[in-house]
Structures are given as C-alpha cells and as structure tokens.
Symmetry: C2
C-alpha cells in the first residue's frame, strides 16, 4: 500500500494525495513513514498565507488568485484552516462551496484542516501536509485562515508571502490587531474597495506601514474587489515581486530554515506529549489525584510533580 | 518574602497580588510554591468570560458590568487576555484606558495577560492567576478576550458563565463562527442595539439558539448599549440567574472539576516540555540535526526520533 501511495503522490493523483493527508492527520506514525520517504526528493512549494478578519472576503480572493495562477498553468493547492471544525466539522462549508469554480478544475487541490491537533497547539499535520503537497508537485500552496487569533498568526508565519486582507469598514479591528498584523503582513489587501471609507482605510494602513518602518521590503497596499476580479492581476504581480525579493536577498532560504526548525520542535513536542502525558491522562493514578484535588486534599501543583516523578531519565 | 507575599494576598493587598502574578508568569517554580500554599484554603471565585469579535464593545461592557457589581459591594477582578502582547506589549492600551473609571476604584483589580505562554499553547499562568485572585478574596473574576480564534474559545471555556457579545452589523461573522459560539455561549449580548439591523441580528441569534436546542439552560439574548449603560442591570440579573441554575443543577461542580482536570493536564504538559524539549532545543545535537535537515541529508521525522532516543524511561 505504501508503495502505491508514494507513486500516486509523485504522479499528482488527487485521490491518493487526499488519502495520504488523512493518514497524516489520523495515523501519525504511519504518516511519518510516508513523509520520511518523500522528504529527500522534495523541494518546498512557494507558500502564500492569507489572513484577516472574518467577512473580509478571503475565500473569494483565494478563488480569484487561484484562477489567475491556473491561467498561467501553475499547479495550486489550497489549505483552508478551519478553527471551528473541532465543534461542527462543517461551519465553513459555505466558504468551500463558494470556491466551487476552482475546485472542479484539475490542477487545484483543496483541503480543509483543523487549526489544532488532538494534543492542543497548532495542528502538526499542517506542516506535514505542506511537505506532502510539495512532493506532489504543486507550485504554489495557499494557506487560508479564518479568524485573527494567535494560532492564525502562527500559521501564516509559515508562509513565504503573507497577505493581510482588510475591508474599508474594519477600522476598529485594524487598530486592535495592528501590532500582530504589521508583524506578519508582506502585502496588505484592501478588499471590497468599492465601498465607502476606502480612502480613510488606506490612510490608516499607510500610517501603520510607515510607523513599522520595516527594513528592506516595504509592504504595498493592493486595492481589490474580489467579487468583480478587480485588482487580482496587480495582486498576483505583487506576490511575484515579493517572491523575487525573497529569492534575491536570500531571505527565502532563512524563512525556510525557520519553518524547518519549528517543524522539528513541533515534532519533538508532539512525540513527548504523546509518549509521556497521554498515558498519564488515562491512568488510574491520574483519576486518584483528581479525586484528591477535588476533595481539596491535594493541590494540582503537587499532583503534577507526583505524576511525573518516575518519568524522566535524568 | 514568601510569608509576606502570602499575607498580602490573603489581605487583598493589590500591590502584593500584582507582584505574585508577575512571579507566576515569569518564575514558574517559585509561583508553584506560592500556589501550593494557597490552594487548600481557597474556593474558586465565580468566573465570567466575555468573548466576541473585535469592535463589539467588550471592554465598555466589562467596565459597566464591573461598576454594577461594585454598587453591590462585590469584589471584582478583571483578566484581559491580550493576543497581541507577544508582539508589542501594548496594542490594547487604548482598551485598558477606557476602563479607567473602574480601575481607580479599590475593590477592582485589572490585569492584562498574554494569550499564550512561552512554550506555546494557552498561557498556563491564566489558570494560576484565577486561583491566586480567588485566594485574594475576589467574588467575581471577569475574563475578557479579544479575538475569535481557538485559544479564545479555550479561555472562555474556563468560565462558569460565558457572555458572547455581538453587534447588529456582525451577521457574517456570526455565520462563520456559529458553531464555536453556540458551544460556549451561556448568554448572548446584542450590544450597540440602538444601531440599525438589531431586529435582524436578534432573529439570527434566536434561530441559532433554537437550532442548537440545548438541554437545560436556554441562552437568553440581552440587548445592551454599553456606552449608555442600557441593559446592564438586566445583563447582571441574567448572570445571577445562570449562576443559580448552575448551582442548583450541580453543573457548577462539574464545570469546576473539568477546569481542575485541564489545569492538571496543562501542568503536566508544561513540566514535560520544560524538562525534555527545552534542553534539546538549545543542544549542540539539535543544531547538528538542523544542519543535516537543511542539507537534505536527513528528514525532520528521523531527526526528532534520534533526538529523543535516550529521553524516555520506558
């Protein structure tokens, strides 16, 4: 089965790719075996992250960017990060359906993934899926997040080029998330720019960019009306410009090294928690400590120390 | 010093409390010593969580709720969870200043805390601070989050009563976060309800509540205009009703047991990562593996296994 799967992935067989992602998500150890075999012959696809507040039109933008790349015969994969899937598995179905005109097109692979893994923290399968899709020959991987929390910032931090999407009426949100957004934004997209308030919003963004005073790349502001495809060509050109800038300045290499470093740390954390903490959670000793904590005969700090007392080699 | 600090906390000395939280945040092991001493004589304060999209007026609401409780001579603490502090340490300063008319009032303690800890994941100091503030004699602790990501849901899940704040114009956002919000909301606050679109929003919320069809407590919708103090009395009454419901149905006990269980698991995870993964990250072996990964002579999956090879007692 492993051999067939590997062949399928390398040939870009979408059914096999989807199957492999499911393995990576649900059977981590089997997934590791697969990824070990793929790693050496893989160079990472170019990663573009899209983030911004809900309702800013990220899905429609993703749809149009993908269409533009497809016109140039580039192979594109989309990973939609879904913070709600833990609860419902389907809150974003509407978004996915809106993307239907690209999803029926071969050469575009779309996958929805949960923000976080079973152990909490960023879903480790996201990194692995990026690697898998790279091995499958996709040129660009678009990672779209919903929401504006810390997990979302972590995910887009993975990306080589990060688009921060906003809309004319989002003044308050921008103020609140200013610091975080400035940190991650390589290109600011002012979507729905046919709406009132666009000039004021542009001014706000310009001031933020000037204040941040980043060295090297100065993040441009690109106005779009995604529903009408306005500004999309300009946006993909800016993505290319940023890509060239990263390649020429060797920053692309640095970014990838940082991604690999985090991937390695995440794997260490995942393995340690799975190996040490998970068995404790389902132990009789844990139940016993919980009982004592509840009866206020023990505090959780002492309980944690006792539960770990014989677990370290040190 | 420990004795003086303990005395200060028990006497509700705000300067000592602030000092203790700083210890809990930055010197975990010293913090654990302190918390061990406090645990046995502490019963948890009543925890109220406030969440909702940016710009929905959560800070103003918090301000008015706190004032209402102060009129009844209740001691109140506010923990403002700040997702951006990792970057700037101050993006939410504006929000804090808006709360200034309560912050100068004795009997209200306000503290801003980062969403996540140095190890990633939910900041473990948040649980500890709740315990500390309970020991200091606060009757109510309000936990206010900014943002709508998974971390925020985790935090409000801590609360006994969770308020989900929304505004008339937030239709799209509500659709997107429907599942997550329905799961956590005990009371829905329709703030800025003097704005157009309030009836439509109320209908949307009613439909969501009906669809969820929760057993037991049916989440009420409370209309407020926080800036004018409209609806605040009604809101605090609803919080009391929910509190009574939880107490009578013994659900309060269940919720607290779940909070303690998570606190214990978080402590286990924190200790294991600090003890095993942190030293590896700064080891020469780690640097060596990273070099090999970069040169594509090794994959991260094998590297992680090798780095952990001698770390388990098993």
């Amino acid at each position: 089965m492993m051999k067939e799967l590997l062949e399928g992935i390398k040939n870009g067989n979408e059914r096999k790719i989807a199957q492999a992602i499911t393995i990576i998500e649900n059977h981590r150890n089997m997934g590791f075996k697969l990824l070990k075999k793929l790693y050496r012959e893989t160079s990472l696809a170019y990663l573009v992250g899209i983030t911004g507040p809900p309702g800013s039109g990220k899905s429609t933008l993703t749809d149009k960017i993908v269409s533009k790349w497809r016109e140039k015969d580039l192979k594109v994969a989309v990973i939609a990060i879904d913070p709600t899937s833990q609860f419902s598995g389907g809150a974003l179905l509407g978004d996915r359906i809106r993307m239907s005109n690209v999803s029926t097109d071969r050469g575009v692979f779309i996958r929805s993934m949960a923000t976080r893994g079973s152990l909490g923290g960023l879903n480790p399968a996201i990194y692995d899926t990026v690697l898998l899709l790279s091995a499958a020959g996709y040129d660009y991987i678009l990672i779209e997040t919903v929401g504006v929390g810390q997990n979302e910032v972590d995910i887009v931090d993975l990306a080589d080029t990060t688009l921060v999407v906003t809309v004319p009426e989002a003044g308050d949100e921008i103020q609140t998330f200013k610091a975080g957004l400035m940190e991650v934004g390589d290109i600011f997209v002012l979507n729905k720019s046919d709406r009132p308030g666009v000039d004021k919003m542009q001014l706000t963004l310009e001031q933020m960019i000037n204040l941040a005073d980043k060295e090297g790349w100065e993040p441009p502001i690109v106005k779009t009306v995604a529903t009408k495809k306005d500004g999309i060509e300009n946006l993909t050109n800016k993505i290319d410009e940023h890509k060239n800038y990263l390649e020429e300045s060797k920053l692309l290499e640095d970014n990838r090294e940082e991604v690999m470093r985090r991937q390695l740390i995440n794997l260490l954390e995942e393995k340690v928690l799975a190996r040490i903490v998970n068995p404790i959670k389902s132990s009789a000793e844990f139940t016993d400590k919980m009982k004592k904590i509840k009866e206020v005969k023990k505090d959780p700090y002492t309980a944690a120390e006792e539960l770990l007392a014989d677990k370290f080699q040190i």
